[in-house]
């Protein structure tokens, strides 16, 4: 290589290959929750199934691997601290996930950590925590609308489970106006809200597609029943509620509902709670509780109130006035003034009828006397003190189911019976659920029946013991099953419980017996294979004193071999006999022919030795005869 003139070399810069510090990535994919802010919002359980499907793992695997470590609950971990397989099964209240409980909040925060999202709480009802009560809020069994699934699939949108379907009071689909399904059309099972192999749009058990078939759709336009439409309306209201929560969370603060109720009472019925209760068709006591804030309304009650007031959820919670026609204000009795109340009560003290505070309340226009106690408690006490002695005695107890006499008769009758019935039976006959009532009502007869029953049972036990001991002597030893059937029991449990050692002995005895048979049979069969002449299976069976079926069951291949061998031997013998016959026939024919007698079959038969003569009766023997004649050239 020729050396050219070297230029002054330049230095090249150095490159930095180290990676920069990256902000942490979300551990799971950030699937966008569907429908937040609309009535068709996705449920949290549905979201979890979609998340698992996106990662192409089972839902149970996602739960176990990713969520359990975040929860740190001891019952989900093995002693080493790893998650238990099928941990999802241990969460019995999985349906509460979509609700408002602390558990739901924990799940939401765990998922938000994993996906680095922050608005997953709108997939549950957590926003309504301070407005609704938890009672019968969420379903335990999964419900869905098949048409919704089919529609989503056709429009190539992700299939998902809606949050409205997890609510107990929703039974219809608003879009398609049909009832929600709870049972899988293929396997017929219902499922919980989330299982190990859950997938949105498919049955959690058999993985069948839950969408409707094409034919079933589209023919629900005729005859919407009234009840269905009511449910659809209620469901629409709930949908609006769900759409409301992400947008205006401040509207759903604590005690807001009770404040609003009070406002509405004041507006609609001039503060008269019972009139308001009548107006909105809700039980008075319930309204009282809601107004005071003592209880939160269940979802169906809230929906009912909204419907009766004619308000949409957003209107209601922003404080609008009722839109429907208010009841005639003149019909509503205004509440009496305080001063009047006091005067009224004082005058009642001198009333000759000695009324109770309840009656007084009704007279004055209240529904109950609670208001009295608030304003003037001492007066109330005085009134009640006056009233109580004048009251007719009330029985606070529920009337008795049976009279004492009936019970005594039943018990004494039972004592005479044979076999003695149990106390439980007698109680049930009388219509009671438990026998304890009888004990309280009629202790002596109760006790004697109990003793008689015990004695009877003891005798029965003795009897069975004797029977079992007898069975131990039986030969061949029966199975415990036969014994039990003989005695009339349907299961082994009682026998085993009462006489464990005897039962074990019976079982063991039978087992040994079977073993012995097997042990005897096997060598006998094998021996038969080498015997000469080869015996039939029946003979072997006779030798071991068992049935042929038993032999075949125990060693079918061997038996077949023996049988084949026998058949072969018999065929061989038959062939031999035929050959012998042929010889003899030939000999006889020759003899006769030599003697000048025509060898007719009868003559030949007479000459034949006895060992083969009887064979001549057979047709094929005549053939042999014919052949012999032919061979010897004798016509015939």
């Amino acid at each position: 290589m020729t050396r050219t003139r070297l230029q002054t070399p330049t230095v090249y810069p150095a490159w930095n290959l180290a990676l920069p510090r990256l902000p942490p990535r979300s551990r799971l994919y950030r699937l966008e929750p569907i429908g937040v802010g609309t009535p068709a919002v996705e449920s949290l359980t549905g979201y979890i199934t979609r998340l698992a499907a996106a990662h192409s793992v089972d839902t149970g695997t996602l739960f176990r691997e990713e969520l359990v470590p975040l929860f740190n609950r001891s019952y989900l971990l093995t002693p080493e601290g790893k998650p238990v397989p099928s941990a999802l099964v241990f969460i019995k209240t999985i349906h509460a996930l979509n609700g408002m409980s602390r558990g739901a909040a924990a799940w939401v925060s765990a998922l938000e950590t994993l996906t680095r999202f922050d608005h997953l709480r709108y997939l549950t009802l957590l926003a309504w925590k301070d407005v609704l009560t938890l009672r019968s809020l969420t379903r335990t069994k999964r419900a869905w609308c098949p048409d919704c699934f089919t529609e989503q699939r056709e429009q190539r949108q992700p299939v998902y489970d809606a949050l409205v379907w997890t609510l107990n009071c929703i039974t219809v689909c608003v879009r398609h106006r049909q009832r929600l399904e709870t049972l899988c059309p293929q396997c017929g099972k219902w499922s919980a809200l989330l299982t190990g192999k859950a997938r949105a749009g498919y049955c959690f058990h058999c993985q069948a597609w839950l969408g409707s078939s094409v034919e079933a759709r589209g023919d629900t336009d005729d005859g919407f029943s009234g009840a269905l439409m009511d449910d659809v309306r209620a469901a629409t209201v709930v949908g609006e509620m769900l759409a409301l929560s992400p947008k205006f969370p401040a509207l759903l603060a604590r005690h807001r509902f009770s404040t609003l109720v009070s406002e509405h009472i004041a507006h609609c019925t001039k503060g008269n709670t019972s009139a308001f209760a009548r107006f909105i068709e809700v039980d008075y006591l319930k309204v009282k509780q809601l107004k005071s804030g003592m209880n939160l309304p269940p979802l169906d009650v809230l929906v009912h109130i909204l419907q009766r007031l004619g308000l949409s959820p957003s209107d209601f919670f922003s404080g609008s006035q009722a839109m429907v026609d208010l009841p005639d204000q003149r019909d509503i009795q205004p509440l009496p003034k305080k001063s009047k109340v006091v005067g009224f009560l004082q005058s009642a003290l001198t009333d000759a009828n000695r009324p109770s505070t309840g009656e007084l309340a009704k007279r004055i226009g209240y529904k109950q006397e609670g208001q009295f106690r608030q304003t003037c408690p001492e007066l109330c006490k005085a009134i009640t003190a006056r009233h109580k002695p004048a009251r007719s005695p009330q029985s606070f107890y529920r009337p008795r189911l049976q009279t004492d006499r009936a019970i005594r008769d039943a018990l004494s009758g039972a004592l005479e019976e044979n076999p003695v019935p149990s106390l439980q039976t007698v109680a049930e006959r009388l219509g009671y659920k438990y026998a304890a009532t009888l004990k309280g009502r009629c202790p002596d007869l109760y006790r004697s029946l109990m003793m008689r029953r015990r004695m009877h049972l003891r005798q029965k036990a003795e009897q069975t013991k004797r029977v079992l001991e007898a069975v131990l002597e039986e030969d061949p030893p029966p199975t415990l099953r036969t014994v039990r059937q003989r005695l009339g029991y349907t299961t082994d449990t009682t026998l085993k419980y009462q006489h464990p050692e005897l039962c074990q002995a019976i079982i063991a005895r039978h087992k040994d017996f079977v073993q012995a048979i097997t042990m005897k049979i096997q060598p006998a069969l094998e021996g038969a294979l080498t015997e000469y002449p080869p015996p039939s299976v029946r003979q072997v069976a006779r030798n071991v004193k068992r049935s042929i079926g038993k032999l075949y069951r125990l060693a079918p291949a061997l038996c077949r071999k023996i049988a084949a061998r026998r058949l072969e031997h018999l065929a061989h013998r038959a062939a031999q006999k035929r050959a012998a016959l042929r010889c003899e026939i030939k000999r006889a024919v020759v003899e006769l022919h030599a003697a000048g007698i025509y060898p007719s079959p009868a003559r030949v038969t007479r000459i034949l030795p006895a060992s083969v003569a009887y064979l001549m009766r057979r047709e094929d023997s005549l053939k042999l005869y014919g052949e012999a004649l032919h061979e010897l050239g004798i016509g015939g």
Binding site: M1, R3, T4, L6, Q7, P9, T10, V11, Y12, P13, A14, W15, N16, L17, A18, L19, P20, L22, P23, P24, R25, S26, R27, L28, Y29, R30, A53, A54, H55, S56, V57, D58, T61, L62, E65, E66, T115, R116, R153, R156, Q157, P158, R199, Y202, Q207, W209
Partner: protein
């Protein structure tokens, strides 16, 4: 600390392992590398998502370094977006591992891809039961011969779809060609191509010239792929020769020794034993440096360097492979002529004067013309447009 121009002075006071580590971590941006990097970044930026980019070059020329640099730069660029979107991954880099026996192991490839994407629960992936699972993003389960890799493949596609990296950088992709029978060679690249297409993610495949065999297998593949070359420096070319010398000089300046050795005067020896590949040169220098540091760290003698050099036989073998690959990539006039003739742009010429090519083809023979209609037994030039 890596400083431009030379090593930091205080490095000399540090212990030997630190000095060795410094030099080992050094990467210099020599012209070929820089150009290839620019080309690659342009290609990634400009091509439609879902394309294939093939980077070819001999062993030791710096392909892995190139990918590392691309990975770093893309991550730097996308930092603001990564802050905002925690789902997204900027770029994925993985190696196509050579199988111990038999065909290329796709299952392993997908698993590495999933780990590189930081996917959880990799061992628990199941096959999605029906294609109807995710019809909205067009990822369907392909009926695959190999069920075990099928579920990992589906999971990998899902992961790429959700994480949306800018590109997937596959190093040592020539291992894809390790299969039992030639019939399935096309399937290998088709797999990559279909994944790239399905997830709309650009794939960059890096490998030696064996990669060429894969991409010329079908016209469709050739159409969708872009080729970039990272070649060695050729001494016959003035510029390249100078570039090699510059690189050698830079290395020389960065050797953390008390006495800076003079390597440039004997540059042709260094060229001879590295065949112009900077990577080979650097490894050689690193080995020698290690020995020198163990001995005391004062100087690097010629003797040490000679002992650590590759043997002539090794260099000859490397060079032969490289030249073969380079030759096949070079576009020649004859190939172009053949292309034009096939396109009917030129008439068939009988006695085509064969112009001189850059590198003499060793297989052309001057024989007497055979019968009319019979082609002369020479190799047809095939080529791939370099970017």
């Amino acid at each position: 600390m890596i400083a431009d121009g030379s090593f930091p002075p205080d490095l000399l006071s540090q212990p030997a392992p630190a000095r060795l580590a410094y030099f080992t971590a050094l990467t210099i941006a020599h012209p070929m590398l820089r150009d290839a990097y620019e080309d690659l970044r342009c290609a990634i930026r400009e091509t439609a998502p879902g394309s294939l980019i093939l980077v070819q070059g001999p062993a030791g020329v710096g392909k892995t370094t190139l990918l590392q640099r691309v990975e770093r730069e893309i991550n730097e660029e996308m930092l603001p977006e990564l802050e905002v979107d925690p789902e997204r991954v900027a770029v994925v880099r993985l190696e196509a591992v050579a199988p111990e026996a038999g065909s290329f192991n796709w299952k392993d490839y997908f698993r590495r891809l999933l780990f590189a994407l930081e996917e959880p629960m990799v061992e628990r992936k199941i096959a999605a039961a029906a294609a109807a699972t995710a019809p909205h993003n067009n990822l369907t389960m392909l009926a695959s011969h190999y069920a075990a890799s099928a579920k990992l493949r589906y999971a990998a596609e899902q992961a790429l779809h959700h994480r949306r990296p800018l590109a997937v950088l596959v190093d040592d992709a020539q291992h894809l060609a390790i299969i039992s029978s030639g019939r399935k060679l096309l399937d290998q690249l088709n797999t990559i191509k279909s994944i790239a297409n399905m997830t709309q993610t650009t794939h960059v495949l890096t490998g030696t010239y064996e990669l060429l065999a894969l991409c010329n297998l079908s016209g469709q593949l050739s159409r969708r792929s872009i080729g970039i070359q990272l070649t060695r420096y050729r001494a016959g070319n003035d510029e390249e020769r100078q570039a090699f010398i510059n690189a050698l000089w830079t290395f020389q300046q960065h050797l953390p020794l008390n006495a800076t050795p003079d390597l440039v005067t004997d540059w042709d020896y260094f060229y001879e034993r590295s065949i112009g590949c900077i990577g080979v040169l650097k490894d050689w220098l690193t080995r020698s440096l290690a020995v020198a540091l163990r001995a005391g760290g004062e100087r690097l003698t010629r003797r040490e360097l000679e002992r650590r050099a590759l043997s002539v036989a090794q260099c000859a073998k490397m060079l032969a492979e490289t030249i073969e690959g380079e030759r096949r990539l070079t576009e020649t006039e004859e190939a172009r002529g053949a292309l034009r003739r096939n396109l009917s742009l030129e008439a068939e010429t009988t006695a085509a004067a064969r112009p001189t090519t850059e590198q003499p083809t060793p297989t052309s023979r001057a024989r007497g013309r055979r019968r009319v209609g019979r082609r002369q037994p020479v190799r047809d030039q095939i080529g791939v447009k370099s970017a």
